[in-house]
Symmetry: C2
Subunit: 562 residues, 2 copies
């Protein structure tokens, strides 16, 4: 008799619920709820382009809307209807780091009338960069005090992460900061809410958000020590006692679905809900990640995930966002890397610089058609993929795009292709960094919109990475990954690996590298790397690493003068 | 009684004839003949983008067409008609270095049936870069042998110049090379032709082409020594005896208009024709060049000319294309610099990358309107103006464009403005080089299409150069300059300076620098210079000076594979 699990995948603009057959991972039904508030679900501040918040109330509304709709759709799939009693567990993934300030009961401040309209009381979405000053101060303070906290997150703390955001709230909106009893990641909040275990001091906290974004590690006793936090701010030090002492992997049960919620959505009460994790991490599980396999989620940006058995020694890897035991697959180190913009760069070109002759109809398709006819290297162009900064391996949001090689005949499709190639070179730089530190990536499994729909890009990736590009069988690997954790906590499988072996796979067609192309890209890559190092790392003669930062400083000044 | 002179200005695509009143430089009439052969007058080779030749027959046809048309137009200007007997002299300027292989009588080989269709037998137009390998070898050989020949042309020999072209002909088309008794610059050929003094061994050769492009200098006895040329090729050494021993300024008479030609075009026989010179050099005279005044001709590319009294000591200036006594104004050093592409870069953007919303109607006007609203520095962008290489101060055709600072919101007008600013920074780099070597440029007089028609560009130039941008009164300074030499050899004035004082001037309105803008550009320029030096000069850590060259090599290889 078939058993089913539910994956709930909270993205940047919507939440997707999938109902999955635990026998083979087949998607039975799926529904999406688009967040109704803000711009595509994001609360913005016209005065501050760094700000991106989200209403936590939408997370709850989305669950109540999409789960019943999914079950309804499932009932239409089977001739004799669908028995929701066969759903054995729920897994939840979310974006992150997306911390939410909560009260003593674990309820988001944004749900209280007093703070409803206060942007600081909302969920601080992963892409909120308001804490960039705080991030730099955290990095500096950690380096000066010779503490190990940055060792597991690449050596540089990011403005996208937990402490940068909370500290920025304390400095910029002390009222909200004081009213917050604790702060909870979106990935922890949802399982807590569904299982009635929201008490911030008792709820289960996931190792994935804790280890990758909050400098949590058992090596140094959990979160960073109080005396270190006190160097940042006494208030942060005090907050530490109201956060958590322990974080656990997602094969553990966060709690059991409350009767009230179960009734409301039509699921059996008491089924287990897995501890939450980030979308890319569960997505990697849904893509079939295992040692030796790199899982790439390629969309507007990328996440590049790897795992390495706990039994094998693993050095800290500079620039890799996190190395956390159990954060992806329990019993293995989870390694997270990524590119800040990929599809976003192609979209930028198409939106702002599409030549008139390619602008009618599907601009991407028009440019792709022309760009696909070009030979590798034949344009003489080379670009850096930094229009939105560099996440891995430089961990520097204050970097910008670069294009060289333009002649008086350089065309739009040539530049479009150079931008695609630039993102591939960025991807190769990440793989190389993993491999330099002994984490081999023989295999690459891709998922996300570009992997699914863009053979032009995928072929260039195969040629530049000089490896076959496999594509995950499921188009919804994040939600599938969450459902896998639902199946594991639901007792269908004893381990994540066992579940993966049954529930994941790749498509029959993989993109194979073309030897002649790979040869040219192997000539181009050292030039990419020379530019990368000159503009992205300190200490070069000519001080080009200052160039992009100085331009940003001049720009910000010029815009304020305006 | 008014006296008149004729200026004949041979450009890249056409020849312009002007009839000028010697009293005040006023243009009485003017006609243009567009070269009829090739693409806009240029003979191309689809297989070799470096090749650009021109039919010498067109030069002769153009004279016969445009002079009578100009005289005809002049007759309509005056109520009682125009007496061609009042024309006292002719000046000729041409592009260069544009050497023509000629027979023993000085006639172009291209005019012989045998060689009519041979591209190597035509005039080798200034922008022909087929001799880039030869240019590099000449530079290397001169440096290794510690000879002074490059000292007066910036330390690097260019592929655009005399010897590179002739040597390339010898290596690539020995048949034409052997058939050529001598080689004659277009600027020398025309006065020779008009005055019946074409014998290569006797004709007058101008100091301007000789000194700026052929390494001629009296310091070392004229052209480079035979033993040096022999190191390049024995054939070049032999050729030296069939070139010239002396070159002279353009206030000297090349000869007198032959009766046959005078009759054909309607001018008095026997009027003097001045020794020829290059367009930019005569253009500088037409713009009123004098010590302390930089003359900029801004069009698809620029020429930046200065003069310095022979009585003042003057060091060799690295990267300045030439320092030649009498090449612009007799009795002064003529200094030539320039940018390989200016208007061509704006045209490139507009042709290949104009966003759809700016593509309807006048693209330049649309982009200019939007770009003019932006504040200096506010885009965060910076570009290098090297899409066609760098003429001054790097003398390197194997450089390419560069753009940095792109975000995910960078717009077309922002890039268009950054390209304009890049050309202004390039202009400033030239001025700075002049001034570092003691040649002050207090004043800048601009002419050419952009100076005439583009207030947006001219204002940015004023702000970046932080100097008022004056504009020459005449819109046709090259032809006016040629006419000034016509007036001098015609005996109207005793010196070029005396003629200039009467016949040249600037427009009432000059573009004044805006202090706030100049301040921002002063912040941006050091970043431009850091990029310039890192990509354009050797010896930097990271070897970025290889980046553009390696990309070109890979490109050329990729295109050949095609």
């Amino acid at each position: 008799m078939h058993q089913f699990s539910i994956g709930v995948d909270y993205g940047t603009n919507s939440v997707r619920v999938v109902l999955v057959d635990t026998a083979d991972g087949a998607e039975v039904a799926s529904k999406v709820y688009d967040y109704a508030s803000g711009k595509a679900g994001i609360l913005l501040d016209p005065k501050d382009p760094n700000l991106a918040r989200q209403s936590p109330a939408e997370y709850i509304k989305g669950f109540y809307a999409a789960v019943p709709a999914t079950l309804k759709a499932a009932r239409k799939v089977f001739p004799r209807g669908f028995d929701a009693g066969r759903v054995v567990g729920i897994g939840v993934d979310t974006t992150g780091s997306t911390p939410i300030p909560v009260d003593r009961n674990g309820m988001p401040l944004a749900c209280l009338p007093e703070f409803k309209k206060d942007l600081a009381a909302q969920a601080w979405l992963w892409k909120d960069h308001t804490g960039h000053e705080e991030a730099a101060l955290i990095t500096e303070t950690a380096r000066q005090n010779n503490v190990p906290y940055l060792a597991k997150c690449g050596g540089t703390y990011s403005s996208e992460w937990f402490w940068s955001k909370i500290w920025h709230c304390q400095r910029s909106n002390p009222k909200v900061f004081k009213a917050a009893y604790s702060w909870v990641e979106h990935a922890d909040f949802m399982p807590g809410y569904l299982t009635g275990t929201l008490d911030p001091l008792k709820m289960k906290r996931g190792i994935c958000p804790a280890g990758h974004k909050a400098m949590y590690n058992e090596q140094w006793g959990g979160l960073p020590a109080k005396d270190f936090l006190a160097k940042l701010s006494p208030e942060l030090a005090e907050l530490r006692d109201r956060l958590y002492a322990k974080a656990v992997p997602s094969d553990q049960v966060a709690g059991r679905l409350t009767e009230e919620i179960a009734k409301k959505v039509g699921l059996p009460a008491g089924i287990p809900v897995a501890v939450g994790a980030f979308d890319a991490h569960m997505g990697a599980v849904g893509a079939g990640i295992k040692p030796g396999t790199l899982s790439k989620i390629i969309g507007t940006s990328t996440c590049d995930m790897m795992v390495s058995p706990l039994s094998q020694p693993l050095q800290d890897i500079p620039g890799v966002c996190g190395i956390v035991p159990g954060s992806i697959v329990p019993g293995m180190y989870g390694l997270e890397a990524g590119q800040s913009a990929v599809g976003d760069i192609f979209n930028w070109f198409v939106t702002y610089l599409c030549p008139a002759e390619y602008a009618t109809g599907d601009r991407h398709a028009n440019l792709t058609k022309a760009a696909a006819k070009l030979k590798p290297g034949a344009s003489g162009l080379l670009a850096l993929d930094w229009n939105n900064g560099n996440r891995t391996i430089l961990v520097d949001p204050l970097l910008t795009g670069l294009l060289i090689g333009q002649s008086l005949h350089t065309s739009g499709p040539e530049i479009y292709r150079a931008l695609v190639e630039a993102t591939a070179f960025g991807a190769l730089t990440i793989i190389n960094r993993f491999e330099e530190y002994g984490v081999r990536a023989q295999d690459v499994v891709n998922c996300g919109g570009i992997a699914e729909k863009n053979p032009f890009v995928m072929q260039i990736y195969a040629d530049v990475l000089d490896r076959p590009m496999k594509v995950s069988r499921s188009a919804q690997t994040c939600a599938l990954g969450a459902a896998i954790f639902g199946a594991v906590v639901g007792g269908v499988y004893k381990s994540v690996e066992e579940a993966q072996a049954r529930m994941t796979g790749v498509k029959p067609k993989a993109y194979q590298p073309i030897a002649d192309h790979a040869k040219v890209y192997a000539q181009l890559y050292p030039i990419y790397r020379a530019l990368h190092d000159a503009f992205g790392t300190a200490g070069f003669q000519g001080k080009l690493d200052r160039a992009m930062k100085d331009l940003i400083a001049i720009r910000d000044q010029a815009r304020k003068i305006g």
